[in-house]
Symmetry: C2
Subunit: 324 residues, 2 copies
């Protein structure tokens, strides 16, 4: 995802080595003595794709000092938490495709997917506990509590056509942004950064997370499944209002509003996307994501200059311009 | 569940106080700033019933020394892990009734139940992390890994009519017994017991857990829903072979075996139960549970004599004689 230039070559190489260490931690952690469990774990390992969360832990750490084994543990833990949410989200969304392959729920049924997600959550906490640092466990527990709250509130608002922007942003902050913010914060803290830098990186990551989710919602609306690599159109199918729809409903009056509501109720994605384009709601949602990224990038002024900070900056830009 | 005599009055009173502390820890831990989340948590708090796991933590602790705040944290954590498994098990079993009320999946749908279970798992780890004791986190992570493995292997063997006793006992050990064993072990360890006593109590609890699960399986076959208070007949409905069925299939020949397989395949619970009674398979499963309890009780010889040890012994007997 990161567009590395010639000068960042050293960053790219360091990241590749750290990502390999995360992969090794995954293999070690998920090795079970039970063959049916191993088959499932090998399947979900294919879900590791963008490695956004480990990247944020490592780049934040590298920007603030040295990166060590605790960074690898935290990065692997956050990626495993993320994979658990993917497995359970696919159950909730009845998704069939993930990373260009079949989802666990599609291949093996919802029951196996529910238990496999639980197994990943449990292993994530077990992995994190190996750092022997109670503050890390406490922080990650707090983050996953918040993440689940975001998902629960989102479910509570399914089919809620009066969902407002404030609630939408609160859901997104909790379910997506808090984990990415914590990756930056913990990466910096483990490298011995001062509190002001840790806080700035936490805010940077949280902003990035919000923008990332808006971009995800845009891709769910108008991405191409063969490029994005996962089931799309799930938000409309599941009655989940996202930013473009909220913006559109807030600004549309009379017949336009009624037509949009009818398209949402009847799951008519094509008609809805046409309306969201015509009213400028999609363009506005994209602009909001770009505005949030611009604001987040300003937080990097509190971070020591250097190639790792440049890479964080490049990652922020890439997040709203990705098409996968 | 425990039949206290006049002499154990002090144990009963101490347990009641400790259980109240667990209740308070639950309320504190699950208090969210989000009303929809609170409504769900209040609903599942009704699932706290027998409090078997906290009881094992406290009695094991009391038998070995003093009981303190860490016992309360561990007891509340184990009960919360147990509640999370109930919420997800009810999704897997499509159960409608739990503790004489409706299940979350029945009332609010599978999606909410999946996320609420995740929220409880996450809160359990967050709660446990508050003890500031990395060894506890590591041990509990190990226990929940094993628990999920047990559930995954059980799912793997659904509709498997060749499931043997060895695999059945391995599933039961992992999905039920290991957590109850860990409750006894951790309770003793936190009270400063010597390793030999900790190990004996661990084995005691694990045996109890196996017997508990066999009794649960027997109640699922022939309990009365209004007494047990939860949906029954789920094992047959879900193609889950339990000990009486395994014993029966192993000993029945020719036409008897074919008839039993036909009853299992066609979900004909009444016919199957008739066969299991006639062949003595139900009586044998009950005898096995009683044998395991007798063996477990012998482990108590390694535990200091006193009213707490007597209460552990009484709990062991009660577990195979309960009808709820």
């Amino acid at each position: 995802m990161l567009p590395f230039t010639e000068q960042d070559r050293s960053i790219a190489e360091a990241l590749a080595a750290h990502h390999a260490a995360v992969g090794a931690a995954f293999e070690r952690q998920l090795a079970s003595d039970l063959p049916p469990v191993n088959v499932l774990c090998r399947h979900v390992e294919r879900y590791r794709g963008k490695m956004l969360r480990p990247t944020m832990v490592f780049l934040s750490g590298m920007a603030c000092g040295a990166v060590g084994p605790k960074h690898v543990l935290v990065a692997a833990t956050c990626e495993m938490i993320h994979m658990a949410t993917l497995v359970h989200d696919d159950v909730l969304d009845e998704a069939e495709i993930r990373r260009k392959g079949h989802t666990v729920n599609h291949l093996r049924g919802n029951e196996v997917a529910v238990m496999l997600g639980d197994y990943l959550i449990s292993n994530a906490f077990h992995l994190c506990s190996q750092a022997g640092d109670p503050a890390l466990n406490l922080r990650l527990g707090e983050v996953t509590n918040t993440l689940c709250e975001g998902e629960l509130v989102q479910l509570h608002h399914r089919e809620d056509l009066s969902l407002d922007e404030r609630t939408y942003f609160e859901i997104v902050r909790r379910k997506t942004a808090v984990l990415i913010g914590a990756c930056c914060e913990m990466g910096a803290r483990l490298s011995g950064a001062p509190e002001a830098t840790i806080d700035a990186l936490g805010r940077f990551g949280e902003g990035l997370g919000v923008a990332f989710q808006i971009q995800d919602d845009l891709l769910d609306l108008e991405g191409r499944e063969e490029v994005v690599g996962k089931s799309l159109g799930r938000d409309i199918e599941k009655g989940k209002l996202t930013l473009p729809m909220i913006v559109h409903l807030a600004r549309a009056g009379g017949a336009d509003r009624a037509a949009a509501i009818e398209a949402i109720r009847s799951r008519d994605g094509a008609a809805l996307i046409g309306m969201l384009h015509a009213s400028g709601a999609i363009a506005e949602a994209r602009a909001r994501a770009e505005g949030i990224v611009a604001e987040s990038r300003r937080e990097l002024a509190h971070v020591p200059a250097g190639p790792a900070r440049d890479a964080l900056d490049a990652a922020a830009v890439a997040i709203v311009h990705r098409d996968f």
